[in-house]
Amino acid sequence: MWRWPIVVGVTSGVGLISALLADGWADVLSWFGLGLPIVLACLYGFSKR
């Protein structure tokens, strides 16, 4: 039950912090980290599967 919440919590946490620490690759990492909640919401919440 907690596997996905923990994964998404940690990745978005990494996303929040990485762009603060550096530019370039760290920005890209933060887009992916913070993008995961949106991807999951679209996959499960807003698709008709």
Partner: protein, 378 residues
Amino acid sequence: MSVSALRYWVWLHKWSSLVCTVFMLLLCVTGLPLIFNHEIQHWIHDDLAPKEMSANTPKASVDRVLAAALAAEPGQVVQFVVADPDDERVWVATLAATTTAEKNQHSIMIDSRTAEVIGKPKFDEGFMHVMLQLHVSMFAGMAGTLFLGAMGLLLVVAIVSGVVLYAPFMQKLAFGTVRREHSSRTKWLDLHNLLGIVTLTWALAVGMTGVINTLGQPLLKLWQYTEVVDMVAPYKNLPPPTTFGSLQAAVTAAQETEPTMSVFFIAFPGTAFSSMHHYAIFMRGNTPLTKRLFKPILVDAQTSKVTDSRAMPWYMTALFVSQPLHFGDYGGMPMKIIWALLDVMTIMVLCSGLYLWFKKRKLPAVDRALTSRLETAK
């Protein structure tokens, strides 16, 4: 979890959310355009752009920039000069009738290479000003800001209690289950849980940094009344100077003190950020994090000699670090778009929460708090 514990958490989640939801909706809706504030301001003030010149054009003396600002607003005094954080070709000077005036301030954009006035942007009117004021204080000054901070604390309580409730509500369901074939209330309960849990880290970060930001003014005052007073103490009993030395010499002295940092903000003698005797020159670093951390350097306004410089205390550092985490302006346009989408998802969590509460009120009053749990256990 025991039934009484569950009841307690349901009660806590319901009331912490209900009290803050309307204000959180206001913050989410007004925050949406504010994410793109920089782009929208550029679009509104598209006539206020610096001239295209070769990239290595040297900068003009700040003394000329100062003279241009004073000539553009006769009879006014300069309070601050700020380097545009996104465009090093631009200085923005703030002028008013006196050094301490907090109203009727005028902004003037000046080209940092030619010292020519680019224009006079109006930051205190229009749609974005209304959005900002609603977001920061609901037009209610310091009281409004602190009230929104208290609502932000309630949001944190609502999020934490929501996470506690996630387990009993989801224990029989696979992650992301949305029971569309059930009642509309069940479907929205599932969506509320899904959107709530995936936005958890972001919403907590934005919520808590928002609360820290509401303390910005009090923290600034604390810093002024302790550290700044201490830094200018040697000048306490001296009469205010009548003539001032070169601003460029003061800036050069500050730059020599911190050669790896850049000038961000200059507070003029007599303003709230300085003393009667000093230019307070705030330097900032050059990495995504350190460019948001400022270090004040006090320069004697007559002799252009550095008299004191010290790192900001921990609470000001906490305030400065919390700002990008609230604004989402530190990872380019993709991050702003992600910030906006997460904001919209939060609006859906808030609205679905309201809807669930409203629907539950209409259920028979047997034990509303446990209905959903029973539904899940079926």
